[in-house]
Symmetry: C2
Subunit: 153 residues, 2 copies
């Protein structure tokens, strides 16, 4: 169990490091917003807010900031003029791509370095543990980190 805690921590640390690249351009909540748009495609404001579990008003202002930075674009829907359609600009897409690519590379490197560890009995044990520990939703998972999930020190 202690070993699992250690391993979880290491895994999380790696995820946090792969995010560091983006933190000069956007904050973590802003990046999460971008990821929603990258993963789900153009969305309505209300859908983004729901996805991120934030109040729509918070979403509006988050998107204000992202639009100001040139990372998302707002367009009023013609079919339903209440809704605002949000989508990534090329710059926003690129930012997300960079982080996701980096993360994937880190993960691949790690998989390669530890391939021999993942024997069936190990993965069986982890899966059983996950079941015993209970369910956590798929979404939100890797997005839910604070800036302070870092190393140093």
């Amino acid at each position: 169990m202690q070993a699992l805690i250690l391993a979880s921590r290491a895994f999380v640390g790696m995820t946090a490091r792969s995010l560091a690249a983006a933190e000069e351009e956007v904050t973590l909540p802003q990046f999460r917003t971008l990821v929603v748009l990258a993963v789900r495609g153009p969305q309505r404001g209300v859908d983004i807010a729901e996805e991120l579990r934030i109040n729509p008003s918070t979403g509006t202002r988050m998107l204000d900031r992202l639009a100001r930075k040139g990372l998302v674009r707002r367009t009023r829907s013609a079919s339903d003029r209440r809704v605002v359609r949000l989508r990534l600009t090329p710059a926003g897409q690129e930012l997300v791509d960079q982080v996701l690519t980096r993360r994937r590379e880190e993960l691949e490197r790690l998989v390669e370095a530890t391939a021999e560890l993942w024997r069936p009995e190990v993965t069986r044990a982890l899966t059983a543990f996950a079941e015993a520990a209970g369910e956590v939703s798929e979404r939100d998972w890797w997005l839910g980190w604070t800036e302070h999930q870092d190393d140093e020190g």
Copy 2:
């Protein structure tokens, strides 16, 4: 590797749930501050700030709020009148105790439920993984969660 991701997620979800009890009284950063005081004992403001990796000014105001809630107490040091000594009030101590106790119980329940999983080869694999993934500092670990590390959905 996928299994480890799952297990990590489950573990984190459990941690987040054990924090939920406190979230009606204090925010997560506030709770982290309380934990520092609980774990390290009475501290100077500057030490708390360093421990939490925040600016001292942020710490001052965080402690303002906690003092207003009656969870910490400030006393000017007599030996060095520059420093302010912070310590938990009984209410603050109790709040931390509640959460930590709950977390410990959850962990014990989980250990018990999964005891047979933790064979030597499993823990060996996890430890090796942690080493390969790189180091993350001991402190900050379980404190570094946002409120959004929840389930539902």
